[in-house]
């Protein structure tokens, strides 16, 4: 029998198997825990307004910015109380889904990893 090429190793239920990978499996991104500080972009669009500066104190659910996307003005809200740091976008920027827009540093030091 012809020996298949490019065989990889996979472990399922404690047993090692030789196999081929699917393209999707090869391209998978390993899990990394989300940074609790990041304000993430949930919709691809254009930054239309920024209501905070580095050092601004915010409370959870405060409006941070507006992203225009899909013919709508979408509010980006704070996910927790804290201080704004590391704003990575400016008005007019095109932003993609999943990227960090800014950080909210918790006021209680030592609570972030």
């Amino acid at each position: 029998m012809e020996k298949p090429e490019n065989l990889k190793i996979i472990v399922v239920g404690g047993t090692t198997y030789e196999t081929r990978f699917t393209k999707k499996f090869e391209r998978r991104v390993p899990y990394s825990p989300p940074d609790p500080r990041h304000v993430l972009c949930v919709i691809p669009g254009v930054v239309r307004a920024l209501f905070v500066k580095p050092g601004s104190m915010v409370h959870a659910h405060d409006r941070l910015m507006v992203i225009e996307a899909m013919k709508m003005e979408n509010d980006v809200l704070a996910h927790r109380d804290g201080i704004i740091r590391n704003i990575q976008v400016a008005v007019g920027d095109v932003v993609t889904r999943g990227r960090a827009l800014m950080d909210i540093e918790s006021e209680r030091q030592g609570t972030d990893e």
Binding site: A69, K71, M72, E73, R97
Partner: protein, 514 residues
């Protein structure tokens, strides 16, 4: 044995089984913030209504010294009872007995109660709290799981099936909940996954905690496996009881009718939806402004929140509501929201619950991730579900209804019985910007001032097409109705559609794109 001794013997045997896994195991259960299986049943069912089956069932495993082990009830409690007067079949796995592990007799107790439920037309509630397969029983344990999954599938669309995850539910065991209609999870107590953190670490080198992998929040917010999330068990039981007020016992009944109640005066429908179609709002405020008592029971509240689904009542009758949510992701359809709404629509259709759909969406979410995640086949599920549904279907277009999104949201073309639009509705093949850019592409490119020309054409297109009257002129919608007339119209429509019949070509079953 004398008759009195027989009674003493009976009480002795009963007491022994009722003690479950014993005091130590019960203490460990309580220390985890968990109720015992028996307490859970009593907390959920109407007081004194529980009738237990198969109390004296014993396991039959003879390997690995199992014949010397007594497992009271074989680690599961089963029976019938009532919830707010509704009869239900229920089982609760008892983690204090061999970790709630599932052996053949344990499974047989569950399948017996499921058969009973299917035959008698009673909902099934399964409380899951189990370490998984009883390894000592080998393939018999797998047989047990398979027999449960088979019955979950047979019962689907016949009686409502509810899974409550109050402990671990891992490996193959997760597929029973996944086959049922509503999955309830509780913070810090529920854990669901196919392969646990240790295996993932060994095989892929990825490190993750059990909570981050398959905790309650993960399934209520990210995976969508759970429909309801509660901070503790008692709140969870409260949610289940509330759900039962909205759904029928089986597919031959209608949900119980309640006395009609007007919406609360604090919900003013005139003030919810901004005129500017770019401004967001919470569509739940629209629902609460038109439904009885402003009481909307939301399902999948924290997953795919760009679409809202849940139960409400109109004139006392249960209605399934589907609504785009402009406040989240601009209300777009995407992989998850299509999946979520399609499942809900099929539940409503199976259980004789009419559908009301509120439309305000810009279309489908653009992105490589969406296309590669299969938004085509997932999006098709929603088209399928709405087209397939033969319950009365009412559609209200609030603002934007563009392109494929307009079709998908229970349009006339998918068999809606009534389609009405507010004066603010914009029903068009696409948004004015996009349409003008395509229709006048050459003219814009060759104009002296392309930007000014484009703006002019967008304005012209908006004026001419961003309204409900083009669709109304073609008869694609039945009426243009003001926000304040919407409730009366819907009540009227639900009343006259009460005896709707719709026949379909005979077939074994359709083939929805799942």
């Amino acid at each position: 044995m004398s008759p009195s001794n027989k009674h003493i013997d009976f009480h002795k045997r009963t007491d022994q089984v009722l003690r479950g896994g014993g005091n130590k195991a019960i203490e460990r259960q309580m220390a985890l913030g968990k109720l015992t299986a028996r307490d859970r049943i009593h907390a959920l069912l109407d007081a004194g209504s529980f009738h237990e089956y198969d109390l004296f069932v014993e396991h039959r495993c003879r390997d690995f010294d199992m014949d010397k082990k007594e497992l009271p009830g074989d680690g599961v409690i089963t029976g019938t009872g009532t919830i707010i007067g509704h009869p239900v079949c229920i089982y609760a796995q008892d983690f204090t007995v061999a970790g709630g592990s599932l052996g053949l007799m344990h499974a047989r107790k569950i399948t017996k109660i499921m058969d009973h439920a299917i035959k008698l037309g009673m909902p099934i509630i399964g409380i899951n709290d189990s370490g998984g397969a009883r390894i000592q029983e080998g393939v018999d344990s797998l047989a047990g799981y398979g027999e449960i999954f088979y019955r979950n599938t047979l019962a689907s669309g016949i009686v409502p099936q509810i899974s409550v995850i109050l402990g671990p539910c891992a490996g193959g065991a997760v597929y029973s909940p996944a086959l049922t209609d509503f999955v309830f999870v509780v913070d810090k107590i529920s854990k669901m996954f196919i392969t646990g953190p240790e295996v993932i670490k060994t095989v892929l080198g990825e490190e993750i905690s059990m909570e981050d992998l398959g905790g309650a929040r993960v399934h209520a917010e990210i995976s969508g496996n759970a429909h309801f999330y509660a901070p503790n068990e008692l709140e969870c039981f409260h949610q289940i009881k509330k759900l039962f007020t909205f759904i029928p016992w089986n597919n031959r009944e209608k949900a119980e009718r309640f006395p009609p109640r007007p919406p609360k005066p604090s919900h003013d429908i005139e003030r919810v939806v901004p005129m500017d179609s770019r401004k967001p709002y919470d569509v739940r405020d629209v629902i609460c402004a038109v439904c009885d008592n402003s009481d909307f029971f939301e399902i999948h509240k924290n997953w795919a929140a760009n679409i809202v689904v849940g139960f409400a009542r109109f004139d006392g009758e249960t209605i399934g509501v589907v609504a785009n949510q402009p406040m989240v992701l601009a209300g777009v359809l995407d992989v998850d929201s299509s999946d979520k709404a399609a499942r809900f629509v099929r539940f409503c259709d199976a259980f004789n619950i009419p559908l009301v759909t509120f439309v305000d969406l810009p279309g489908y979410l653009p992105g490589v991730d969406q296309e590669h995640a299969g938004v085509i086949r997932h999006g098709a599920k929603l088209l399928y579900a709405f087209s397939e549904a033969t319950v009365p279907k009412m559609t209200v277009i609030l603002r934007k209804a563009y392109g494929g999104g307009y079709i998908a949201m229970c349009s006339r073309h998918l068999g809606a019985d009534f389609v009405i639009a507010w004066p603010t509705a914009e029903i068009a093949v696409m948004g004015p910007e996009g349409a003008a850019n395509i229709i006048f592409r050459n003219e814009i490119a060759s104009a002296a001032d392309p930007d000014a020309f484009r703006k002019q054409k967008v304005a012209e297109y908006t004026e001419k097409f961003a309204n409900p009257y083009v669709a109304a002129a073609a008869g694609h919608i039945d009426a243009v109705i003001t926000p304040k007339d919407t409730r009366d119209f819907l009540i009227h429509a639900i009343q006259i559609a009460g005896h709707k019949t719709e026949s379909r070509p005979v077939r074994k079953h359709g083939i929805p794109p799942f």
